[in-house]
């Protein structure tokens, strides 16, 4: 209890830390409390309190707390707001962790991970905590999430004979479509094969877009940081170097999505999660794509009614006449979700303790135990997930996301036009025309032209530091030789490079310069 111990006679004043997150469902808080309790055993002079903020107000809460400089020591990141916003938050308000990630996690002492750098203890090399554009680590993920297709095994079994087909569930997209047809035929009106909401649809889009357009990676990663940021993909779309009408892969992606939409409830893109759950649990739908976080609750709710099973979203086989040529492979499940990631605020007077606690929570032993309690997947590679969660184990191999259609500032246009296209109201050309029209109208305000203009100027710098950084991160032999020596100096250069890239947005400049200066002063 947070009140206890504060005024205990004769005891030294405790150092109080706060940790804020939005996981209010039962179990999470208790699990976290348990870890905190364990930690406080070790450090009796520290008290850590949880601040639970409902999802509804989380972003506004974070926003005001950060701006008001009243934020707690640790904050769960990523909910609400655009990626650019969070990036800005990281740069401005959060502590970079770069210098720690390459050191071993002290709490792993005595385990197999004793000598492994903190970063490498993660199943994904801590990519979930890495901010590519800033080329900096800010977050400490404590869990992992993966997306799966849940299905009603009884219902599917009726039309999908495992013995005959060889698998309990379609393995390819072609079979999947067949299954949908069969289900629809059998169940008739008032039934949809796939239940979905705007929430799950975003995730489906991600899967298929990555699977079909992974080939664009080399073309679009113009700053060679290893990922295609939204600006990087928006720039060619804007300039016309990447024409949605011409690119077969992109067209195929959207057409595939439209096909899936046909098997989903009408207007699924506007539906909420609860409605999707209702359809699925009341057996008006046979399948529902959602994340591992839902597993325990769906299991509980389906129990006694139907058998719940889980599969991966099936991809088109290379033989698929329409999509086959474009399919490269599944998306990687490294860092697909923020996965309970915490960052330490700069205003925290006890950043060292906060870091220590997060290391404690991400140590092999406690991360495993924590996730065991939360019914989630642990983030540490060697940690064992619960048995039930086996099907969700993240698949690190795979492709990273490339083309991102929602550029900063155009997300609204995308969400306006896509549902209409998915609903079959008009054809692909019209959709592209409409979307590109507002895309062109709105993007100029978002720094994309500047990005394009400044690209070349900054590219050299970027390349140089990028490669240095990557070399350092991957521990490449001889990297030290290239380093200029002082890591602070090095970091500042990188930040300046980013700043140069966005120089036209003077307030941004301010931010980045400030960030760089801060970092410098810390040394």
């Amino acid at each position: 209890n947070h009140m206890r111990g504060r005024g205990r006679v004769g005891e030294r004043e405790k150092t109080v830390l706060r940790i804020a997150h939005w996981q209010l469902e039962p179990g999470i808080r208790e699990a976290l409390d348990w870890v905190i309790g364990e930690y406080q055993e070790l450090h009796p002079d520290v008290e850590i309190r949880q601040i639970l903020i409902p999802e509804e107000g989380y972003f506004r809460w974070v926003n005001t707390q950060l701006i008001g400089r009243t934020a707690p020591d640790m904050i769960e990141c990523g909910l609400g707001g655009s990626p650019e916003l969070w990036r800005m938050f990281y740069a401005r308000y959060f502590l970079p962790l770069d210098e720690y990630v390459d050191e071993p996690n002290p709490y792993n002492q005595g385990t197999v991970l004793e000598d492994v750098s903190w970063r490498e203890t993660y199943f994904d090399d801590m990519l979930g905590g890495y901010e590519e554009t800033l080329q900096t680590y800010f977050r400490v993920p404590l869990s992992a999430f993966t997306l799966r297709l849940y299905y009603n095994a009884d219902m599917v079994g009726e039309v999908w004979d495992e013995d005959e087909r060889g698998t309990p569930f379609p393995r390819t997209y072609e079979e999947f479509v067949e299954l949908c047809e069969l289900l629809q035929e059998q169940q008739g009106e008032g039934f949809v094969p796939i239940s979905g909401s705007s929430y799950s649809f975003d995730r489906i889009i991600h899967v298929y877009r990555t699977a079909l357009t992974a080939g664009y990676h080399d073309r679009l990663d113009t700053d060679y940081d290893g990922t295609v940021s939204r600006l990087e993909s928006a720039a060619p779309l804007f300039s016309g170097r990447l024409d949605m009408r011409e690119e077969g892969a992109i067209r195929a992606t959207f057409e595939l999505l439209r096909e899936i939409a046909e098997y989903s409830p009408p207007g699924a893109t506007a539906m909420g999660r609860d409605e999707a759950d209702f359809l699925f649990l009341q057996e008006r739908a046979a399948m529902m794509p959602t994340g591992s976080w839902d597993y325990s609750s769906l299991m509980e709710r389906a129990e006694g009614q139907f058998t719940l099973a889980v599969a991966e979203m099936p991809l088109p086989s290379p033989d698929h006449p329409r999509y086959g040529p474009y399919v490269t492979g599944p998306p990687t499940e490294a860092h697909t979700q923020g996965a309970f990631p915490f960052a330490i605020t700069r205003t925290s007077p006890n950043a060292d303790i906060a870091l220590d606690f997060l290391q404690f929570a991400s140590s092999l032993k406690y991360n495993e135990a924590l996730n065991e309690q939360m019914f989630w997947l642990p983030a540490i590679g060697e940690a064992q997930p619960r048995e039930e969660l086996e099907p969700f184990t993240p698949r690190v191999e795979g492709y990273a996301q490339t083309v991102e259609f929602e550029a900063p500032g155009t997300a609204m246009s995308f969400r306006h036009t896509l549902p209409v296209f998915l609903a079959g109201t008009h054809d692909y050309e019209t959709f592209v025309d409409r979307y590109m029209a507002s895309f062109r109208r709105e993007l100029p305000d978002q720094g994309v032209p500047e990005h394009i203009r400044d690209m070349n100027r900054t590219l050299d710098q970027q390349k140089r530091y990028g490669s240095i950084r990557r070399a350092a991160i991957s521990g490449a032999a001889g990297a030290d030789a290239i380093l200029t020596g002082d890591p602070a100096e090095q970091h500042m250069r990188i930040m300046e490079a980013y700043v140069g890239q966005r120089a036209s947005r003077d307030h941004e400049v301010h931010t980045w310069v400030e960030h760089a200066r801060y970092y410098h002063e810390q040394r």
């Binding site: 939005w22 996981q23 999802e55 107000g57 009243t70 609750s297």
Partner: protein, 275 residues
């Protein structure tokens, strides 16, 4: 007033009201039904009663919300009282008199009501930080009152303007000061609207969510609206206890309503003024 009334009219009136009531009460039925369900039952059969009934939901709900009720009551009562009191004072001035600069001040106040305030949160937070009102229920109540009074002021001014002036004149001759006129004339005769505004403000404060969420740090100061979200996880909502908790937290409100509804008095001006 007791005069004969045609039976058809009576039946029509009552049946209209019952139909409307049935429609507006539908959510209660749903809340009640859901409050006895586990999540499993809820997702399978949301709208009808399913067995077994899970009374423990209510226990959970009570445990969750009981700690917050006092905070909410304090916050809502304080904010409502402050906003009503200051709004009545000002409404009396604006509704009864045309004072120099009065129209200007009025416009300056009213325009605030008309100003959309979406981007106000951060500046407001800054103000509260400056005034050291963070993490304080009184501070919240003051802010709530500051914003809430404007609508009360607007409504009350209109009502006071409509009051027969003889009442004020009589009081003035009797030697009533402005405050006394407010206490003895305005408040008793505007009982209906004041109680309406009290309800409006009270419910508003009761449900206010974002500002308490942002400005309160100590969990033991949180009001109900924020506390209730404990039952509403990001991935899993606890429907049964949640609905039970809503029910529980509605009880103080209903008591308040029953009390304030008494201030509606029919035909108050009757027999008092001839003409």
């Amino acid at each position: 007033m007791s005069r004969p009334e045609s039976p058809i009219a009576r039946v029509l009136k009552h049946s209209y009201l019952w139909v409307m009531l049935a429609l507006t009460f539908l959510p209660f039925y749903i809340m009640l039904v859901i409050s006895f369900k586990t999540n499993t039952q809820f997702y399978r059969q949301p709208w009808t009663l399913t067995f077994p009934l899970h009374f423990e939901n209510w226990a959970i709900a009570w445990e969750t919300v009981s700690v917050y009720i006092a905070n909410s009551v304090f916050l809502a009562v304080t904010a409502t009282l402050i906003s009503l009191v200051i709004a009545i004072l000002a409404a009396y001035v604006f509704g009864r008199f045309k004072i120099p600069f009065g129209d200007f001040i009025w416009a300056a106040i009213l325009l605030l009501l008309l100003m959309p305030g979406v981007a106000n949160l951060v500046p407001l937070f800054r103000v509260m930080t400056e005034l050291r009102l963070l993490n304080s229920l009184i501070g919240l109540a003051l802010v709530g009152a500051a914003g809430g009074q404007i609508i009360c002021l607007y409504v009350l001014r209109n009502f006071i303007e409509d009051m027969p002036r003889e009442f004020f004149e009589c009081a003035r001759i009797d030697g009533a000061s402005h405050l006394q006129q407010i206490v003895h004339v305005v408040i008793p005769q505007c009982g209906g609207i004041i109680s309406t505004l009290a309800i409006l403000r009270f419910v508003g404060e009761w449900n206010s969510f974002i500002l308490p969420l942002i400005t309160l740090r100590d969990p033991d100061k949180l009001p109900l609206a924020v506390g209730l979200f404990r039952l509403q996880g990001a991935y899993v909502k606890q429907w049964g206890p949640l609905m039970a908790a809503y029910f529980i937290s509605a009880i103080p409100l209903v008591i308040l309503f029953a009390f304030t509804m008494r201030f509606f008095i029919r035909g108050i001006g009757e027999g008092a003024i001839k003409g």
